[in-house]
């Protein structure tokens, strides 16, 4: 087992002239729950999407579970099997049932047998409270239910790491808590997690570590207590004063 599941080293990202990530360095130790916080447009999504190479850094390196995925000819698809992602917009497969959403990648990508994928899939659906929706299609579910299915889909890959990019930002307010509850439940287990979120309560409750990003730079990196009680950077203080009042 690697000590650090994810390592971003001197990562720079440009979209054309737009300098979105500026010399980002981040180590994610195995088992840690990291919450990434920052203003809109600060580069949080770009940063987390570099971790599974949905965005390719302009320079610098990304290493996941000991494999440098930014290297030429790196086995990216293979590495992605162990680092699952949950998206803001759920991105469930609309032409597949809930259960098929969970079994597709394990069977096709990992070569898991259909029965095995169904068994573990049903167990995860039960865990997120949606066992009775196994045969429904995503369009028949509420946003909160869809996001819980997306989490179960991620889990059914048996990943070492879970990446969440604002998992509750597209939800109606009354559905946010049901999704957060599931994520908080997961946070109590050994799995490594990186969560981009605006939910400060969640950060306080579930995070081992809070990373604050502004204008593509990591300005704060420490425990939730440190971040919320004694932020060192002026821009962090400004951000907190806006968001906590």
């Amino acid at each position: 087992m690697e000590d650090n599941l994810i390592e971003l080293k001197n990562v720079e990202k440009y979209f054309g002239q737009n300098h979105v990530l500026k010399d980002v360095n981040l180590l994610v130790p195995t088992g840690q729950k990291i919450v990434i916080i920052g203003p809109s447009g600060s580069g949080k999504s770009t940063m987390i999407r570099c971790m599974n190479l949905l965005e390719h850094p302009t320079s610098g390196s990304v290493t996941v579970d000991g494999v440098e995925i930014t290297a030429k000819k790196a086995p990216v698809a293979k590495v992605r099997q162990s680092i699952a992602m949950v998206f803001q917009q759920f991105n469930l497969y609309p032409h597949k049932t809930v259960l098929e959403n969970l079994t597709l990648a394990p069977t096709v990508v990992q070569g898991v047998s259909k029965t095995e994928a169904v068994d573990s899939g049903m167990a995860y659906l039960e865990r997120v409270g949606l066992k009775d929706k196994a045969d429904a299609y995503p369009a028949q579910l509420s946003g909160g239910q869809q996001q819980r299915v997306a989490i179960a889909r991620a889990l059914n890959m048996h990943p070492k790491t879970l990446l969440f990019d604002e998992p509750t930002s597209a939800l109606d307010p009354e559905m946010i808590q049901e999704v957060l509850d599931v994520i908080i439940g997961l946070a109590q287990e050994g799995i490594t997690m990186v969560v981009v979120t605006h939910e400060m309560g969640f950060a306080r409750q579930a995070a081992d570590r809070v990373v604050f990003v502004d204008e593509g730079q990591i300005l704060e990196d420490g425990t939730p207590e440190h971040f919320f009680e004694n932020p060192t950077n002026d821009r962090t203080k400004l951000f907190l004063s806006k968001i906590l009042h």
Partner: protein
């Protein structure tokens, strides 16, 4: 040349004479049926290969690989913007002079190739539009689960794109069936060619029956296309 086509109709004035129809059913009808059979075969084969070409080039046209996109673009633009008739005639009479091995390819196969290339280009455009209508998050979700680009296309993107692509695809099938009639110019013995052969003796019945046979092939397909279009609109 003007004689060429008017000659076909040299006895059109007897179109409604009983004798003509008797003569037609005795001496011409089986010929037409043979033509029909070949038209059906050419259509099925042509559609099969056009689908393969259309899917391959449609997917290439949406890939991140610049060279692939350029190749797909050139293919589509070339075949969409030159007449099928020209392509078929060149393939039959021109290319074998440069590439003699082609002489051995049967004419109906040449027709299949010409139709596949031509309609493959149109299907490719439909497939490209269909794929691009699928939200990018679908590809990203698939890739994030460790699928390769090809797996993501096969299991996630294309099955969804198919719903969008099906109506234009069915229209292409109708056009392909009708376009088998360029066989008349290259000597492939499909329905139109046989109609011409028979029409020397019995123009009216030959043309009327041929038109009816084409209609019977195409009308159900066209109806299907309209239904699919209506359904696609309801879904949106």
């Amino acid at each position: 040349m003007s004689g060429g086509f008017t000659q076909w109709f040299s006895n059109i004035q007897y179109m409604f004479s009983l004798q003509q129809w008797q003569y037609f059913f005795k001496n011409g009808f089986t010929g037409l049926l043979h033509g029909l059979l070949l038209t059906v075969e050419v259509s099925l084969l042509g559609l099969f290969f056009a689908l393969i070409l259309g899917i391959v080039f449609g997917v290439l046209a949406t890939s991140q690989w610049k060279v692939a996109r350029a190749v797909a673009r050139v293919y589509v633009e070339f075949f969409q913007n030159t007449p099928l008739m020209l392509q078929a005639i060149f393939l039959t009479f021109g290319l074998p002079l440069i590439w003699p091995a082609l002489v051995k390819v049967p004419l109906f196969m040449i027709l299949v190739i010409a139709l596949s290339m031509y309609h493959g280009a149109y299907i490719s455009e439909a497939v490209r539009a269909g794929i691009q209508s699928i939200h990018r998050g679908q590809l990203e979700a698939s890739l994030s689960q460790g699928m390769t680009y090809v797996q993501a296309m096969r299991y996630v993107v294309i099955p969804q794109a198919l719903r969008v692509v099906l109506p234009p695809l069915t229209n292409q099938a109708v056009n392909l069936v009708k376009n088998t009639s360029v066989g008349v110019a290259i000597g492939a013995m499909e329905l139109m060619y046989m109609t011409k052969q028979i029409s020397d003796m019995t123009t009216g019945p030959a043309f009327l029956v041929a038109a009816l046979l084409y209609f019977i092939l195409c009308f159900p397909l066209a109806t299907l296309a309209r239904r699919l279009e209506d359904r696609a609109e309801v879904n949106n």
